[in-house]
Amino acid sequence: MKIKVIVTPKNGVLDPQGKAIQQTLNNMNFIDVNEVRQGKYFEIETELKDENDAKKNVEDMCKKLLANLVIEDYKIL
């Protein structure tokens, strides 16, 4: 089974990469863009058969490794 996770910078945490992307988009005439936040996307293949078990396990992974909860939020899709 494949579990998908996205990790994004928390609101209020400076995201200099997102800011640079936003400015570049604005310079490319995408003038409607007010903000970009850059995150990470993971696809995790697990041997677990039960979706709830697998998601619970991935949540543990997020807390222990995949996200730094001081600056990032995670979302299991």
Partner: protein, 227 residues
């Protein structure tokens, strides 16, 4: 005094640190990250570099390596632990010190000498250093210190801010902040002040031939407190 420098795949300041520690009289051993036990030590150093290629987040993979449990145990017993640059990022990822280190505000790798003001109160790292302003070296891409307002208040109340970026006259301002760190923070202590994490490299400035000699004060002071 005995010290251990931990080597991770991608560490690149481990030998500089070894040279510096030996120069000031430490008996230093190099310890591989895959080992489980630290040799008997009075000081453990996590050196600078790019452990595991900075994959995922700087320091995050190294923070789960075999040797780290021994480092945490050593630190929790009150042992002196220093993390410099990537070593600071690893300390952050282990949770031994508070906060996070984000990408530099202006997205540039910064490699230059900077000035810092050190906290001299009740810690073994800076307490008796005669100079108020130290010229040290920084070389990093992710040194932009961040923590929540609540954590910042706790750390300020406990006097845990170890080092702050300043200018040559000691003024701490936006202009002397190279990377966007909140409150110009360049390094922090844990609550007991036996653990120091900081971005500047004292081991790179231990001789006037190396553009500054101010790192020498750091090592001399630390050693004098350990005797």
């Amino acid at each position: 005094m005995k010290s251990s420098v931990i080597i991770f795949p991608g560490s690149n300041c481990d030998r500089d640190m070894d040279v510096a520690l030996k120069k000031f009289g430490f008996k230093n051993k190099m310890v591989w990250h895959n080992d489980n036990i630290i040799p008997k030590s009075d000081l453990v150093v996590l050196p600078g570099g790019f452990s595991y290629g900075d994959y995922l987040r700087c320091g995050s993979i190294a923070a789960k390596s075999n040797i780290i449990n021994s480092v945490i145990e050593f630190a929790n017993k009150g042992g002196l632990v220093i993390g410099i640059c990537n070593g600071f990022q690893i300390l952050i990822e282990t949770g031994l010190v508070t906060g996070a280190l984000l990408r530099n505000k202006y997205l540039k790798f910064i490699c230059k000498n900077i000035f810092v003001k050190a906290n001299k109160s009740q810690n073994k790292y800076f307490n008796k250093i005669k100079k108020d302003i130290l010229e040290l070296h920084i070389a990093h891409n992710d040194g932009n210190y961040f923590c929540s307002e609540d954590d910042l208040k706790i750390m300020e109340d406990n006097d845990q801010i170890a080092v702050r970026y300043c200018d040559i006259n000691g003024e701490i301002s936006v202009n002397s902040n190279p990377n966007g760190s909140i409150k110009n923070i360049a390094g922090v202590f844990n609550i007991k002040k036996n653990i120091l994490g900081m971005m500047p490299h004292p081991e790179r400035v231990i001789d006037n031939y190396l553009s500054s000699n101010d790192g020498s004060y750091f090592f001399e002071n630390l050693l004098s407190n350990m005797k």
